[in-house]
């Protein structure tokens, strides 16, 4: 019944503009360009994060095109917006059906991830996600995804932050408080933190459980409530504008003097964590990319220089998420092409090739497990002021790999933590 009629009555030509730049690209063989769909947030709270990731994908595409494209085909980006789940579902279908892209990459918010995942499976379009993963997302909605490749479990950051807390503050803290970002990610982090406190019988009692609506710009009342509770340590999963506004207003009220701070995903706002109000000795997580990683790869150095030059800012870890997604796909295509003697491989062949592949991403080696969940480095450490910038950096930098800190395929997270013997940190 669903006619695939070629004669498109509405002739609504796809207005999508091609983005690959041509500066000095070698002449491409007559084979058609390979179209990649990019779903990047452009408005609201996720706008600045989406733009950083999009700039990274564009930088990657230029590099690939300069080096001859993928199997001789030029990369062409078709950019659409990640809005609310309804808009994002429509854009993902448009990319798959209207622009018939080879692959769709993108998505940060959990809601849009939950709607695009099933669509990718339904339309048999490979989706290389940046973020957009939650516990629920993994369990019921996509038990064994074929076309979707998702990002690391949320809890990894919470796990690592908890281990650092145990290592450095065992016996030194009695009371803890939660200042969570009010959506699924925030809940996962707090549940993980408390489970780890129990596992290592830290003997801490939670004295406050506060939730900040994403994008709040006035946190004075949250700061005041925390001062009322007087916690020894505050675990905060804030990661948007509210993250650095909290630190700024907490500093102004003297809160950061009294309580220790743990911000597992605060690295998202590294450009705004100014020395002026960000205390030293705060546990700050940079997820899968830290712009000053100890043994930074030339790739990372080149990208950081490019990004700082272009925007005047340091890139945050969404850049690595975006880069690793598209780089893994390219590697998968090229690996599959070896079996098909250079011919462009089918989607199934590409998927099989990506499973188990590992690539050199901005944050170090990045590889996909057979269950389509990646393994990569995570960077976390205590903030310090001694650096040439006006923002805080972390040192020493703990580099932890998800192989030790991410639950295996299909395991129940909380049972796994109880049983697992985590390697003791350096």
């Amino acid at each position: 019944m669903s006619a695939q009629s070629r004669r498109n009555f509405l002739k609504l030509s796809g207005g999508a503009f091609a983005l690959g730049s041509f500066a000095g690209a070698p002449a491409f063989a007559q084979s058609p360009p390979v179209k990649i769909g990019v779903l990047a947030a452009r408005s609201g709270v996720l706008a600045s994060i989406g733009e950083c990731a999009l700039a990274t994908v564009q930088w990657w595409a230029d590099g690939v095109n300069k080096a001859g494209g993928i199997l001789g085909r030029k990369v062409e980006l078709v950019v659409e917006e990640e809005g609310n789940p309804k808009e994002t579902a429509e854009r993902s279908r448009k990319l798959a059906l209207r622009d018939n892209v080879e692959m769709v990459t993108g998505l940060i918010s959990t809601g849009s991830g939950l709607s695009v995942g099933p669509i990718a499976e339904e339309l048999k379009t490979i989706w290389m996600s940046w973020d957009a993963t939650t516990q629920k997302d993994v369990e019921e909605t996509l038990p064994n995804p074929k076309y979707s490749f998702r990002s690391t479990d949320n809890e990894v950051e919470g796990l690592m932050a908890s281990l650092l807390t145990v290592k450095h503050f065992k016996g030194k803290i009695k009371t803890v408080a939660n200042l969570g970002t009010d959506y699924s990610y925030g809940r996962n982090m707090w549940e993980t933190f408390m489970a780890m406190m129990k596992k290592y019988d830290m003997g801490v009692t939670p004295v406050a459980d506060l939730w900040v609506k994403v994008g709040t710009t006035d946190l004075t009342t949250f700061v005041a409530s925390l001062q009322q509770a007087k916690p020894d340590l505050i675990m905060s999963s804030l990661l948007f504008t509210d993250a650095f506004i909290f630190v700024k207003q907490a500093h102004a009220a003297g809160l950061t003097g009294a309580s220790k701070l743990v911000m597992p995903a605060g690295g998202f706002q590294l450009n705004e964590m100014k020395k002026q109000y960000t205390p030293e000795g705060m546990i700050l997580g940079h997820n899968s990319m830290y712009f000053e990683a100890p043994n930074a790869s030339p790739l990372l150095k080149e990208f950081v220089a490019y990004y700082k030059g272009k925007t005047g800012l340091f890139p945050h870890f969404e850049a690595d998420r975006a880069y690793s997604a598209v780089a893994s796909w390219k590697a998968g295509v090229e690996k599959a092409a070896q079996q098909t003697s250079g011919k462009w491989p089918s989607k199934d062949e590409i998927i099989k090739a990506i499973e188990g592949i590992s690539v050199e991403s901005l944050g170090g080696t990045f590889s996909y497990r057979p269950d389509h969940i990646p393994d990569c480095n995570f960077y976390m450490g205590f903030t310090t002021h001694n650096n040439p910038y006006d923002i805080v950096t972390i040192s020493p930098v703990e580099t932890l790999n998800t192989r030790d800190y991410q639950k295996p395929a299909g395991a129940d997270f909380f049972k796994w933590i109880q049983a697992k013997q985590f390697p003791n940190l350096s």
């Binding site: 019944m1 279908r93 339904e122």
Partner: protein
Amino acid sequence: MTTSTAPIAARTASAGTLKRALALPALLFLVIFLFPFIAGPHYVILMFSAMGYAIALLGLNLLFGYTGLLSLGHAMFLAIGAYTAGYMTSTRITNFELILLVAVAIGATVAVPIGLLCIRYVKIYFAMLTLAFSMLLYSFLFKFYHLTGGDEGIRIKAPTLTAWDLSGLDTLSVLTGPLYYYVFALLVLLTALMRCLTGSSLGLQLRAIRENQQKAEYLGVNVKRYRLVAFVIAAVYGVLGGVIIAIPVGLADPTIAYWVQSGNLIFMLLLGGYTNFLGPLLGAVVFIFFQDQLMSFTEYWRLTFGVILVMIVIFFPNGLMAALDRRRWWST
């Protein structure tokens, strides 16, 4: 509504004029009916959700166009429809008719108390009270995540039809095939029903209430009751539209009920032409397809929509239908 146009044509229109009067709706429905044969699957699914919006807007225009009540919270009924579909399909009840019936029941039971409160007010107060109610629902859906899934919302699996066995088909062919025509039939049915309602004494009395509430009361029109009837009918249409819109998305989440979405619903109504019975249908289709093209064309599509809305409000308050329906066969 000082800019509305003259009333419905003379009572006994001659055969000729009737034929011409039916040309416009017939063309609109023909295009929607033939769409799966003439357009690619992406556009067919867009039309699928456009039909959902058309149904919701038909109900909303009973409030705005006929009764003169601007609801800035109608998106809450879209959310009720979506979440009903979500709860039911996640407990493995995927029969489409059953989902629609339960959604209508819940929509009506929610609409009566809210309606009783809201219809006591008019103009700005009605707009702000409906907005407050929709934001109350939004915060509830967002905050009580144990019940509603919070920002993750609830998954909606593809529904099944009693008459058609859809098990063989994948979701895409369901959405562009049997389910499309099922929703099309529903749209035709609900349009006819609304046409009948607005042509009945209800329609006339609602317009009387809109024009002059005190005079209507003194002519024996029970203003409170008919406003409540209009509110509940609008809510039911909104809930049905909500179920249909949410199915291609596959997720019911709080952003459906956000106040900006209610603003967009009114935008669609103005675009189509609220002073015309067919305005909601045309507004939904034109808005959805224009937005699809605009979003691919520029990242500043909200700015463009804002400018267009300013132009409509100032220069074309009666929207597109005013231009198409010269003879005002279908004016409210």
